[in-house]
Symmetry: C2
Subunit: 371 residues, 2 copies
Amino acid sequence: MTNQNIQQKQLKYYGLMEDLKEQILKGEIQVGDKLPSENELSARYQVSRQTVRKALSILENAGYIYAEHGRGTFCSELVHKSRNSKNIAVVTTYLSDYIFPRVIAGIDGALAKEGYSIILKNTNNSRSQEAKYLEELLQKDIEGIIIEPSKSQIYCRHMNLYQKLEDYKIPYVFIQGCFSKMSDKPQVLMDDCRGGYMITKYLIDNGHKNIAGVFKADDIQGQNRHKGYVMALQEAGMLYDPDKVIWFHTEDRKVHPYHGIMRLLEQKTQMDAVVCYNDQIAMQVMRALKDAGLKVPEDISVTGYDNSYMAISDEFRLTTIVHPQEKLGEMAAELILDLLHGGEDSVREKKILIEPELVEGNSCICRTENK
Amino acid sequence: MTNQNIQQKQLKYYGLMEDLKEQILKGEIQVGDKLPSENELSARYQVSRQTVRKALSILENAGYIYAEHGRGTFCSELVHKSRNSKNIAVVTTYLSDYIFPRVIAGIDGALAKEGYSIILKNTNNSRSQEAKYLEELLQKDIEGIIIEPSKSQIYCRHMNLYQKLEDYKIPYVFIQGCFSKMSDKPQVLMDDCRGGYMITKYLIDNGHKNIAGVFKADDIQGQNRHKGYVMALQEAGMLYDPDKVIWFHTEDRKVHPYHGIMRLLEQKTQMDAVVCYNDQIAMQVMRALKDAGLKVPEDISVTGYDNSYMAISDEFRLTTIVHPQEKLGEMAAELILDLLHGGEDSVREKKILIEPELVEGNSCICRTENK
DNA sequence: CCGTATTTGTTCGTATGTATT
DNA sequence: CAATACATACGAACAAATACG
């Protein structure tokens, strides 16, 4: 089977068929257009007329074209209608139990109503995997893609694949983050900059003077939350101290934040609060603080982000930002359905920013004028 | 057009095609039979081999026959779908963040290695949804199904759909549970009976005398865990008291266990331990006990099941049974791949029972001879 | 309306490659 | 290894429908 697939691409009729299909999908051959005659194709591609006919017959069976005796072969109008797989691909970075399930649940809820199914792909936050899966999906029968970009901070080296999606008229929607060069594309995400601003301002308003930060370096969300953190500090006239910020990468996410905090403590850095990238990181930071003999929130305040299950336990509640997970998934699904049904121009809001909301727990304390 | 139809019957390839089709429909060529070779047909009907191939290709496209390289052309069993979609459907009951994500992650990990994709379907534990999705999936391009049955305890009314899957030679694997009449089908599940037995025996061994139980009524897992609970009691020579068992249904899962415990307490039922269907229920039970002024584990011991994130928090750790979520998904994926590649008979173990493992927390106390 | 060129539809012949038995 | 059977490819011829001057 695999042999066949590899060889098929070398076959003359198969190559010709693919070539013609691409021209049709790219719109170089428009609906209703007359294709070159069999003899002309045979001359142009240097193959026999039989081979041309073989290629055309595949496309005819697939519904791309139809032949009229004595007139010619034409591009079928049914090209768009033949896309009724009712499948939407969802490409995520992690299948962890952190926030992903509810986003998927939201997407599934909205899609199931319209009879659509989810094809799930998980990149493990690897860019090469993302590229591989996009190529794979281009071969599959899908109507649209909802994608959470992998390492969204790094420049996208496979822009050509997204271009191909547009050529093939397959709509796509970014969730959670977006590559910097594609900020005009359809997307649904939190206003992370504002979220970072809000939670930092909350700490400032509660009298904190030395606010450290722990941010993820390799996605756009980390960048934006950090941006908000800086904005809040500057607005309050506080100095932004890069030494108080710990940047970690996904690959060593289990090691870095813990050791980062430890290092700050060893250096006797002044700290009365730590703004964390998310709840997961906040838990790691708190473990480090605890191991160092510090109490939260008495000695130091800690904030999270996402309002995950980690933020809520019996006694302890993390001050965090609500991540409207299901809602986000639902909105992304509805956006892609709009793009599918109405076409690109019919959609008013192609970029949806969700306003963050702060949830006050007991992981922070109010330091009014003392310390 | 009408002219064409009349003339088509005079065409050699069309006549041959009709002739062969009639033989298949009349049963002169049985399912699975080998057709005469192209050369033989070409000789018998006095037409060129090209003409034979044209006739055969029509029948092949229509699904009546299929050709195998080097072997011959055969009469198709049923509408033979293109078997290279590389899609496996995964039908789950809930997309909750409880244990589902890790199972999916396990499935995805194993499938992605072989280049397969997941098509996700979520029944919300509704049998009618399950039936609807199975019909939908029969229309889709899938190679196999991994299914967590909805309300596995209730008799399955859409057995015909599973029969259809077998007719179409689409393999399926049950996970988590299985309908009672289909216990010989491929499946991967925990030995829930043994799990229920182990955790109950643990309580007995630690001196508990009055062990209540909370079980889910509408899935086979609840039945099995309850069976193990009863086995452990009987083995220890303890009376099984149905009044100490609370059965709840999925629909009112948020209400029942809490109120059930409250009712038992109001009736002043003697209780020194509660065996719970899973961690989620254990948390609800513990909330009820707490609201009633009882302390865990000092006044009463509580056990869970699944070893979910709920079982582990800073101070409190639930005594529970490990649910090897990723491993289960991985095994299910590998089983379906085996069924796909090797055929049904090649697989040794079609039924995989995972041995449970007990994790001791601090939600139980040892009552040696007092009380 | 006719004739011619173009284009697809059908059929035959031939050759080589590749998988299976 | 040889025989068998399907897969691909090329060349040629004629038929039938259509377009156009």
